[in-house]
């Protein structure tokens, strides 16, 4: 994405009092722009330098919020999604590669909409050729899978959203 284009986006953000804007373009990659809390001119931008598996078709997500995060520059990673009260984020306990199934030809551990028991494996984080199963901490339903298969993930990165109960 060109500086020109980013500047146009920033102007848009200013005009509509947006705090956060994320654009995911198949060709140009992912850009996430976050404005500082006091609505000042400090704006942080990040461009996709760690590219997850093929970005999907252009999609944009927009957030207007009262409490904005402080300016940060970070490589393209999935933004922490908004959760409702009975939803929990499953985050990665380590840095590694996210896999949805035990092997390339196996079925995924879970799909969106599936119910899960406490202790049921949800996905695998592979680190240095060791497969670490990530288990559900309580029973619930898989609302959303946030990462793509074979995506590099970091410590604390959101992997799935579980609805409890």
């Amino acid at each position: 994405m060109e500086v020109r284009e980013i500047k146009a986006l920033l102007a848009l953000m200013q005009e509509y009092a947006l705090v956060e804007l994320e654009i995911d373009d198949k060709k140009k990659g992912k850009v996430r722009l976050v404005r500082a809390h006091d609505g000042g001119d400090a704006i942080a931008a990040s461009a996709a330098s760690i590219a997850p598996a093929a970005a999907s078709a252009r999609k944009a997500s927009v957030r207007q919020a009262a409490s904005a995060p402080a300016s940060t520059i970070e490589a393209a990673k999935n933004a922490a999604p908004a959760l409702s009260d009975n939803q929990r984020l499953v985050t990665s306990p380590m840095v590694g590669t996210f896999y949805r199934a035990a092997s390339p030809d196996a079925a995924p551990f879970v799909d969106e909409g599936d119910s899960v028991r406490k202790g049921q494996p949800l996905c695998i984080i592979e680190a240095m050729k060791m497969m670490n199963e990530i288990e559900a901490e309580s029973a619930g339903r898989v609302v959303k899978v946030l990462c793509e298969n074979a995506q590099p993930v970091e410590y604390g990165q959101p992997l799935l959203i579980l609805e409890l109960g």
Partner: protein, 459 residues
């Protein structure tokens, strides 16, 4: 040359490494703990990966986490910086086994020099002078320590065989003191290094800590880049360093430099390293230990030689031959480094918190290495070294003068720092005359006198 280098560190040294990589056209991958998500090195690097929670054991000291980041994010080289895993042979080995270049010496050099009694034995055989001390592999029992002390005569220094950084170190001047101190030192060593093996060395009351910078390629071409005087230490923690050593002569430098190169040669060393000596009043010098990493104070050597040690180490690690010849190494002027710690000058307790205003000094011959910025929160979890003020000038008096001016200009609001202590040192007449030994800092009561000049804030 490498494509992507992972910096296995944080803070000031991470910034330093990123800068060198930028000049060499190498991509940078920063790692960080959750406590460092707003850190400067994270922002500066091309890519950044969170590898663990705040505590160092599960992040910056976690070999599996770091290796996972290396392999998952495709780095072909790793720079360990100083501290953390920089002198951990297992880490160097893990990198090599994974087919990733480690910017540093080989694992066996790290392990060998990390075993202090063994390093002493090797040096002795190589004809490098060592202090009288424990023989063999060291001592674990108090009665063996006492036997050594009888033979050496007091005062002696109890040291940890696997140690460094002053932990497990005690000066004792009598058998009674030794009997009390030995179990304590040994316990400290076990806690810090997982080893109960200690050794004794004769203690020199008024000696200077003089270390020589070594640079070597992978083909055993080794040179030295002169010395640094690091005598100003508080509980074995360096506070201020300078190059050249104020009492050095060209003849002595040649002698000690040769000994330092010999020490590196004898173990087939590669990459950067530092050979530490104690220099006695009478001009005798003794090998103490070798540090197998880039050091905090490498900057003073860079200022007087004009050589970029971090770039050189990366180039050596990528297999490039050493182009510099010993006769090309020239020393110009004098350099001083002040280590700025986030600490209360009165209590010497760490002073973490938010740096509400930060203004670093500048100008000719003033170099500041820091990861601080306006609004940065100094975390509680890590080393309190927050900045290095490195000054270069035509001679030592000018360097002292310039350092004082630079420190007075340095504004770090919101936390306490050690800058008042540095100003007191620089004002001390004995320091100005170059008359000091490792005991120098004992004379200072820690009081917050002479606060730095505050700059008027722009309205």
């Amino acid at each position: 040359m490498f494509k992507k280098l992972l910096i296995a560190n944080r803070g000031t040294i991470a910034i330093r490494i990123i800068r060198a990589c930028r000049e060499l056209g190498i991509g940078t991958l920063a790692i960080y703990s959750t406590a460092d998500k707003d850190a400067l090195h994270v922002r500066m690097a091309d890519e950044a990966v969170c590898i663990g929670p705040a505590n160092a054991e599960d992040s910056y000291l976690s070999i599996p986490s770091i290796m996972s980041a290396v392999l998952t994010y495709g780095a072909d080289a790793v720079h360990p910086g100083y501290g953390f895993l920089s002198e951990n042979g297992d880490f160097a080995e893990a990198c090599r086994k994974s087919g990733v270049n480690f910017v540093g010496p080989r694992a066996r050099h790290i392990r060998l020099m990390g075993d202090k009694p063994r390093a002493r034995r090797i040096m002795k055989r190589a004809g490098v002078p060592i202090l009288p001390g424990s023989q063999g592999t060291g001592v674990t029992e108090s009665r063996d320590a006492q036997a050594d002390a009888e033979r050496l005569g007091f005062p002696v220094l109890i040291k940890a065989a696997a140690g460094g950084g002053g932990k497990g170190m005690r000066i004792v001047r009598s058998m009674a003191e030794l009997q009390k101190a030995f179990p304590l030192a040994r316990a400290e060593s076990e806690a810090a290094f997982g080893s109960r093996t200690m050794y004794l060395e004769k203690y020199l009351e008024e000696a200077r800590h003089v270390e020589f910078q070594i640079l070597a390629d992978n083909n055993r071409n080794i040179i030295h880049l002169g010395e640094r005087d690091c005598s100003l230490q508080r509980r074995h923690q360096k506070v201020l360093e300078e190059a050249p050593c104020p009492v050095m002569t060209p003849r002595l430098r040649e002698k000690m430099g040769k000994a330092a190169v010999r020490a590196a040669e004898v173990v087939g060393y590669s990459n950067v390293g530092t050979v530490e000596f104690l220099l006695a009043d009478n001009g005798e010098f003794y090998f103490i230990e070798m540090n197998t990493r880039i050091q905090v104070e490498h900057g003073v050597t860079e200022m007087v030689t004009g050589i970029d040690l971090v770039k050189e180490s990366i180039q050596m690690a990528s297999g490039q031959p050493l182009k510099l010849k010993q006769r090309q190494i020239k020393f110009d002027g004098a350099a001083i480094e002040c280590r700025v710690y986030a600490e209360d000058p009165e209590t010497r307790l760490p002073s973490p918190g938010v740096v509400s205003s930060h203004h670093a000094p500048g100008g000719l011959g003033v170099r500041v290495e820091t990861a601080l910025y306006d609004g940065y929160r100094v975390p509680v979890h890590y080393d309190p070294l927050i900045a290095k003020v490195i000054v270069h000038a035509d001679d030592r008096a000018a360097a002292i003068n310039r350092t004082k001016a630079a420190l007075r200009e340095y504004l770090i609001d919101g936390i306490r720092t050690s800058i008042p202590l540095h100003l007191r040192i620089l004002d001390d007449p004995d320091f100005a005359a170059g008359h000091f030994s490792t005991n120098f800092l004992k004379r200072f009561e820690v009081r917050d006198e002479a606060p730095p000049l505050r700059m008027a804030k722009a309205s």
